[in-house]
């Protein structure tokens, strides 16, 4: 979809055209889902977060700055909603379940698991294993930048963090992940 077409749809949505909004949803729901899934690592949670996000987009369309890319705004909303859910999940997990149920790098059974991903579930397991121990900011920045492949500027906008803070957290996140992988697998000896 061209930028012009997107802007035209958004214009119609601003006039409360539900059918135009449906086109927008069809166009962007998979992007939104991908981000929510990578952050939440759970299909149901991700789907709920996407629904909530689009309702918020619909309600707050008047706050969208048309000078910015629509996807960046959408990512900001999905990120905020996913983070709220992530915090709630973490809180509940602390309250209700034992430490053993937490995913960790030990869930990766062997080195083969590091190579191929075939399903959302496998993906979720991998991401959880790599990022679950990271502080939330590091996890967020790593996910937005290295998994969702946003630019540093986009990460900064979506997360509300400064460019400098994005880079610092990115550096810590990658370093922590590398250390964990090295401890577990001597990953540096893996063939590409």
């Amino acid at each position: 979809m061209t930028d012009d077409k997107i802007q035209e749809l958004i214009g119609r949505c601003a006039e409360r055209d539900v059918l135009a909004f449906e086109q927008l949803v069809r166009q962007f729901q998979s992007y939104a889902f991908a981000l929510a899934m990578r952050l939440l690592c759970n299909e149901e949670e991700a789907s709920d977060a996407v629904q909530e996000s689009f309702v918020r987009v619909w309600k707050h369309l008047d706050r969208y700055d048309r000078g910015r890319k629509f996807t960046t705004w959408l990512y900001t909303i999905v990120t905020n909603i996913s983070l709220d859910r992530l915090r709630a999940i973490k809180r509940n997990r602390r309250l209700f379940s034992s430490r053993d149920e937490d995913p960790s790098i030990d869930d990766i059974q062997d080195e083969r698991d590091l190579h191929e991903i075939h399903s959302n579930e496998e993906l979720a397991g991998m991401i959880r294993a790599l990022t679950d121990e990271l502080p939330l900011k590091q996890r967020l920045v790593f996910t937005l930048r290295d998994l969702q492949d946003l630019s540093v500027e986009e990460v900064s906008e979506a997360s509300g963090m400064s460019i400098g803070s994005v880079k610092t957290n990115l550096h810590y996140a990658r370093r922590r992940i590398r250390q964990r992988m090295a401890e577990k697998y001597n990953v540096e000896r893996l063939e590409s």
Binding site: R16, V18, F21, E22, V25, R26, Q29, S30, F33, A34, M37, R38, E43, A46, S47, V50, Q51, F54, V55, W58, K59, L114, H115, E116, I117, N120, L123, M126, I127, L130, R145, D146, L147, D149, S151, V152, K167, L170, H171, R174, R175, I177, R178, M181, A182, V187, E188, R189, L190, S192
Partner: protein, 232 residues
Amino acid sequence: MNCDGYRRMLYLYRQGELSNREAEELVQHLHSCESCRLEQERIGAVDEIVQRIRSYTPVVEDPRLLTSAIMSKVRSAQANDESQGILDKLLDLFALPQVRIAASAFVVLVTGTFLFQYLTLFTDIHSLELSAGLQSAASHKSETLYSVESSEITKLAQTKDLQDLIPAGQYKIVDRKILVNQNDVSSLLSSSGLRSLTSAIASSVLHVDKKKLDAIIEDVTKNYTTVTTFGQ
């Protein structure tokens, strides 16, 4: 800069994370520092794994289902907003002493996209007429209690929302009016019934021009007597 500084830079290895100048300095340093080169290789190995994870895009299992789940939430949010607005105004209107004396006169106002229509809901005409001191109540009371005049509303009568609210057979459409039996109307008059009716109307009509609505409310408020003297 010492190795610690370069190590930090090593972790910012993707396009756009280092300035050109920083990148050049780093390359220079790597030529002369074996331990940093080793660290770079290790990072590279981990990044390959991260790339593999990145290259798998999470799949929406049933895109249609997701779209319809989203849209149903959006539609109900929209209907809630609009019916809430209308309802709030109605309740304000109803709270006016003059209108409350009439006890059951209600005016629901709906605007179409371009059309602009009054949907008039007269409730409990019998007590309305009594309060207006009329004797002719008996001749009306078995007739229409719920009267709607609008082509939009007639269309609405064929929509599922209204049919859910008022089961078929309990209303008929005559001359662009929806006629509802006295017995059936009582459930509509409960606030939840009215709420769902208003919400059904709002979600079907979708466009409510707030300014026009305000103007009508004002108009009706000033001319409430035309409402309360219905039946004369």
